[in-house]
């Protein structure tokens, strides 16, 4: 019989080795560049953030900047983002790029960075306070409007629509829905059957759709606030044998969604080019540090992708 304390030491040792392996595997080795920046995204659960990270890191490489990308363990957790910002401030980084998981919740972090004289750039999502050097991104409302307008045009301006909302309170969710609503308002013959949250997740998208399919015998269009929920809705409608009669749009142009569009399962999505948002975010911070003027808002166009142009985007 192994003594208890030995067993404990053994197990603790295993955990530590694993932990070490993890940190070595995930922490990119930083070379000494001209500036040091941290780039904080919202989560790791969506390939969208991975594309943004790739864009930011490419900018770092091109401009000789050390970039450390960080993501909260718990997706969309603003507290963890605040902690990352505080750590960055104590490490005296030159600039902070942060995609606020919560537009209000991030403000104390930005104010702290302002006090320490560290410029803050917010790609993708806005912050509602503090001094932000630049915001880069697509106008979520406009892209939402474009997608909805396109899809409603395909329907011929008539039919039953369901909206899958993003996480309640999330700024992108509110803006995208605003765009959808604005487009729908232009078509008096469009009937919105239901507008419910599926919390930006594929699982929830499937579950909510499975339930709504029970209630509504005829659904012509599902407009989802992101691709994950749209793909969940695809699975639910497919299982119910109603995928053919229902069109589905997403948002973000994730690879799975692009594949789905090329297979004819989804109708359209909007590509915000998160890599460009990340890249421009870093560039803006760089220009600011170099003493160049930077725009307050840096709008990046975001095309609607459907079957006609999906080939160019598919990787």
């Amino acid at each position: 019989m192994i003594p208890r304390y030995k067993m404990a030491t053994f197990l603790v040792a295993i955990f530590m080795i694993f932990g070490l392996m993890l940190s070595v595997a995930t922490d990119p080795v930083l070379a000494a560049g001209k500036y040091k920046m941290i780039f904080i995204v919202k989560s790791l659960d969506n390939p969208f953030w991975d594309r943004m990270r790739a864009g930011a890191e490419k900018a770092g490489k091109d401009l000789d900047i050390d970039i450390k990308t960080l993501a909260p363990i718990k997706p969309y957790n603003v507290e963890e983002q605040l902690r990352f910002m505080e750590d960055g401030i104590t490490q005296k980084v030159d600039a902070i790029c942060v995609v606020p998981a919560d537009s209000k919740g991030i403000v104390p972090g930005i104010e702290k960075a302002n006090k320490a004289g560290i410029p803050v750039v917010t790609p993708n999502s806005r912050a509602y306070g503090g001094k932000v050097a630049t915001w880069t991104g697509a106008q979520n409302r406009d892209v939402g409007y474009d997608i909805a307008k396109y899809a409603l045009g395909v329907l011929g301006g008539k039919g039953n629509v369901i909206i899958l909302e993003g996480t309640p309170g999330n700024q992108t969710a509110i803006d995208r829905k605003k765009g959808f609503d604005d487009a729908i308002a232009e078509y008096p013959d469009i009937k919105v059957l239901a507008s419910q949250t599926a919390k930006y997740s594929r699982v929830e998208g499937m579950r909510v759709m499975e339930n709504l399919v029970q209630r509504f015998p005829k659904i012509d269009l599902v407009i989802a606030c992101n691709d994950e929920m749209a793909l969940g809705a695809v699975e639910a409608l497919d299982a119910a044998g109603r995928l053919k009669e229902t069109k589905i749009t997403g948002f973000d142009a994730n690879n799975d969604a692009l594949k789905s569009i090329s297979e004819g399962k989804m109708l359209a999505t909007g590509d915000q080019r998160p890599d460009a948002q990340g890249y421009w975010g870093v560039v803006a911070a760089y220009c600011y540090l170099e003493g160049m003027p930077v725009p307050k808002d840096l709008y990046l166009p975001a095309p609607v992708i459907d079957q006609s142009n999906v080939k160019q985007h598919l990787k």
Binding site: R4, I73, E165, S195, R202, M206, N211, Q214, R215, L231
Partner: protein, 323 residues
């Protein structure tokens, strides 16, 4: 009144159904009932594992993360490595088994509180899942694999069949095997059970292993249903499963309750969510309503148990030892 107590959970379920069907005509359609059973299947499989862990006085907060890790690895093996289906499934179950073994060994041999070790395990396995998938999502499985989650056997969806089989097996174990009664004995009074010759540590380890395997099984059904595997799935599952167990009448103090009640607990939670979608309750309100209803259900459960349950030697002992 007393004769009603064993049926109190079923009565709550029926009352809930009656209330909802009053407001929504779509609720009692056959297709919606099948839909609810299919949605409840995964929560039920996890709930069964959680029930036996809780009966021994433990808790397993890692089941959602173990589900994520095992399904991610199965997805990598099936999709990226192109291995045959049984290998992916067996690999997932082995991973679930290993995670359960570590949980159980830490609880039984090293005497770490179950809450602490399974909480740590949750981060550990979730972290590994992120690491293996590198923020990607694996999408699109073969039709054979998808049969597990979306197929039908004799007109019944596969998840319902799997979940029902798990439930029947565990009710059998709980009622008719020595292991079943040992679980209750360990939960009621570990020291007394040890003195009476039960190998309590082995019982605890086996219980966590079973919970781990069931998590992995749920993970396979889950990814087959969703046609995708992502590292974040099942974040809320530990708490959903605990809620199902509590609504089902198994108290966190252990030693009593059972798998049968958990089935009802899982159904109640799924029905509430289904009803909120059918009734079109505002997105902002849904989480609140779910929470409020769970609180009410659990209060009714524990209140009726305290009012009407017969005093048992075990619970008297536990109260004495616990204070």
């Amino acid at each position: 009144m007393k004769f009603l107590i064993p049926y109190s959970r079923i009565l709550i379920l029926l009352a809930l159904c009656a209330l909802i069907s009053f407001f929504s005509p779509h609720f009692l359609q056959t297709s919606n009932i099948i839909n609810i059973l299919r949605q409840a299947a995964i929560l039920n499989i996890l709930g069964v594992g959680m029930t036996i862990v809780i009966i021994t006085g433990g808790i397993d907060l890692s089941n959602g993360a173990v589900l994520a890790l095992s399904s991610c690895i199965a997805a990598i093996l099936l999709k990226d490595a192109g291995l045959p289906m049984p290998i992916g499934i067996i690999a997932a179950l082995i991973i679930g088994c290993c995670c359960g073994l570590i949980n159980g060994a830490m609880v039984a041999k090293v005497a770490i509180p179950p809450f602490v070790i399974t909480y740590a395990m949750m981060f550990f396995t979730r972290g590994l899942a992120f690491l293996f998938l590198q923020g990607k999502i694996i999408y699109g499985f073969t039709p054979e694999f998808r049969f597990i989650g979306t197929g039908y056997l004799f007109g019944v969806p596969m998840p319902i069949i799997i979940s029902a089989m798990v439930t029947i097996i565990f009710i059998f174990i709980q009622k008719y095997t020595p292991f079943g009664s040992e679980i209750y004995a360990v939960g009621a009074d570990e020291e007394a059970s040890m003195l009476s010759g039960i190998r309590t540590k082995s019982v605890v380890i086996r219980v966590y292993i079973l919970s781990g395997i069931l998590s992995a099984l749920a993970g396979i059904v889950y990814m087959s249903r969703l046609n995708a595997s992502e590292p974040v799935i099942g974040e809320a599952f530990p708490l959903d499963a605990i809620a199902a167990v509590l609504i089902g009448g198994t108290p966190l103090s252990g030693g009593e309750g059972g798998v049968g009640g958990t089935v009802i607990g899982a159904l109640v939670i799924t029905i509430i969510i289904n009803a909120m979608n059918l009734l079109g309750i505002s997105s902002l309100l849904q989480t609140f309503v779910l929470g409020a209803l769970i609180i009410i259900m659990i209060s009714v459960q524990s209140h009726s148990r305290r009012l009407f349950s017969l005093p048992s030697i075990f619970s008297a002992n536990r109260n004495g030892a616990g204070s």
